[in-house]
């Protein structure tokens, strides 16, 4: 009986130690935010293939400003691309405009806008892009691979400045209208920021 009692008491103590030591309380002080960054590059009076760019300073975003000293980890999750307005020189019908591909790049820069060597990342691409499918819709979301998202994030922690590049290929088809008066597009990018 005495042994049984000792065993029960030992079990009580052991269960308590195991139960309480498994608590994840340290995680509760982590705050994980998501912020959206938007780009409005304008491709204006140019022929394809060519690119449009949009410069971004994360300091323009309150969430970043409020937390930049405490950022422990950051990651690009995904982004959405859409076309808001488009016009070719000869008013080509939207349904007829098909790009062989549209590629998206991120280039990190200094505060002066100077490119940081070796800091150009391809975030994703759309192939055989029918403009009519991308016209004012929300359905074209590209997930950024986590390895790439993490790699860029290391850089974001050191510089909040970057350029988002949209690279338009040539158009599909013969005798198409390659000159655009404008392509007004919009990107929303979601960043995950972990702070302590």
């Amino acid at each position: 009986m005495k042994n049984l009692k000792s065993l029960l008491v030992a079990l009580l103590v052991a269960a308590g130690i195991i139960g309480f030591s498994s608590c994840d309380v340290t995680n509760i002080s982590d705050v994980v935010l998501q912020m959206t960054v938007d780009f409005d590059p304008i491709f204006e009076d140019k022929m394809v293939p060519d690119s449009s760019i949009d410069l971004t300073d994360l300091n323009d975003y309150e969430t970043y400003r409020d937390n930049k000293e405490d950022i422990e980890d950051a990651q690009i999750l995904h982004f959405n691309y859409r076309i808001d307005e488009i016009k070719t020189e000869n008013n080509m019908d939207i349904d007829s405009i098909v790009f062989e591909s549209v590629n998206f790049y991120m280039i990190l820069t200094t505060a002066n806008g100077d490119r940081i060597p070796g800091q150009r990342y391809k975030l994703g691409e759309f192939k055989n892009l029918h403009v009519s499918d991308y016209y004012k819709t929300a359905k074209h979301i590209i997930e950024v691979p986590s390895e790439l998202g993490n790699l860029i994030s290391e850089q974001i922690k050191s510089t909040p400045y970057f350029v988002f590049v949209t690279e338009y290929s040539g158009l599909v088809g013969e005798n198409v209208d390659n000159r655009f008066d404008y392509i007004k597009s919009h990107m929303d990018m979601v960043l995950r920021i972990k702070t302590k």
Binding site: K2, K5, L33, D84
Partner: protein, 390 residues
């Protein structure tokens, strides 16, 4: 000890009070929160934090009793216990309320990226992580589909706070003073006070246990069994920001096996309610608005003594004027009713008494499964016909 208490309270309230260190109490004792909270409306913050308040409430109503047999004597003692909860999957998500226009395909188009899949035109509510959950799901919002201004705030992509991926959580430690009365009654008092910034967090609990079985001759004395009633009332306050109270009523039963070893169990109903009040920095003041509550008055219509605050409010609004939630756009207060998922619990445990000391450990089934353990010391007992434990 003070540091430890501060740390424990800080850990428990970290997510609700300290998203960033920039949150601070204003002169009225209301917590002013920074832009991080622009991801939240009051309703969504309520959903996000409800599991945390459940943990706090469950912890507060834990360790109200152990063995149901109470001596016919006066006694003084103390009890210290810790409580840990297991967070169920259902409390790792909540239904976040979306802005009114979301899902109205005549006005907008949107898409959420959920588990690698694109879901179109979500409206009403969408599942998002609570404070204990995982990744959140942003909703991409695009151009007005039939007219409208693209700059209209309903067309902005929105993101939500993520959770902390917690499956087990400690609650606040409970330090109690325990008094026995000859009526086979036990009174327990619990107080925890600690400064949070320049305000005081206070938690006061009073509970009573009354043995019942001897009035009804339910058990033979030699069976070493007992049945008792337990009731408890507690309140917790933090300046004008947190005002919550909690009650519990239950019955508990125990059986002793001699040599100080006992098992016990109980069924308890309980509730936690209250209010959580915060304001957004440079927030809403009805005096700044016309009667429609949405149109800002001109600066000339604002009294001179309010000019500085008015200008700060106008500047802050510029930062959030494209937020799709009206409450955020107008920097209205973040206020919600505190609630708990737990309304009842079943507890089973064991205790071992040795001299003036009793070790106790119990576990229970409630909305959050819990483990609670501690030690009770009975310093002095008198007025009893049985042996004194002094």
């Amino acid at each position: 000890m003070k540091k430890i208490i501060q740390l424990l309270i800080g850990i428990t309230f970290a997510s609700t009070l300290s998203f960033t260190a920039k949150a601070e109490f204003n002169k009225d004792g209301v917590l002013e929160v920074p832009g991080d909270f622009n991801l939240f409306t009051s309703k969504n913050l309520q959903g996000y934090t409800k599991p945390l308040f459940t943990t706090i409430g469950q912890g507060a109503q834990s360790n109200l009793f152990t063995v149901a047999s109470y001596d016919e004597s006066y006694s003084i003692g103390m009890d210290f216990s810790l409580s840990s909860t297991l967070i169920p999957g259902s409390q790792q998500v909540y239904d976040a309320v979306l802005p009114a226009a979301f899902g109205d395909t005549n006005r907008m188009d949107n898409a959420a990226y959920l588990n690698g899949k694109i879901v179109r035109n979500v409206g009403g509510t969408i599942e998002q992580p609570t404070i204990y959950g995982g990744a959140s799901n942003a909703i991409y919002v695009v151009a007005p589909v039939k007219g409208g201004d693209p700059a209209d705030s309903i067309y902005k992509t929105i993101a939500f706070n993520e959770g902390t991926n917690i499956t087990t959580m400690a609650s606040l430690p409970a330090f109690q003073l325990v008094f026995g009365l000859p009526t086979r009654t036990e009174l327990r008092f619990r107080y925890l006070g600690a400064p949070v910034d320049d305000q005081m967090y206070s938690h006061l609990a009073i509970s009573a246990n009354q043995q019942l079985d001897h009035w009804m001759d339910l058990f033979d004395e030699s069976d070493n069994m007992a049945l008792a009633l337990n009731v408890s009332y507690q309140f917790m306050t933090l300046a004008k920001t947190i005002d919550m109270n909690s009650w519990a009523v239950g019955l508990h039963f125990s059986k002793g096996f001699g040599d100080g070893l006992s098992v016990y169990g109980g069924l308890q109903v309980e509730d936690l309610s209250g209010t959580f009040n915060m304001v957004r920095q440079n927030g809403y003041n009805a005096d700044y608005y016309e009667v429609d509550g949405k149109t800002l008055k001109s600066a000339s219509a604002i009294p001179k003594e309010q000019q500085l605050n008015y200008q700060a409010h106008v500047a802050a609004r510029k930062d959030v004027e494209t937020n799709p939630f009206e409450e955020v756009r107008y920097l209205k207060p973040l206020t919600f009713d505190i609630e708990s998922f737990t309304s009842w619990r079943f507890t089973v445990g064991g205790a071992y008494e040795y001299g003036i000391m009793e070790l106790h450990l119990d576990m229970g089934y409630a909305s959050q499964m819990f483990l609670n353990g501690g030690i009770r010391l009975r310093f002095k007992e008198w007025g009893n016909s049985s042996a004194s434990a002094e």
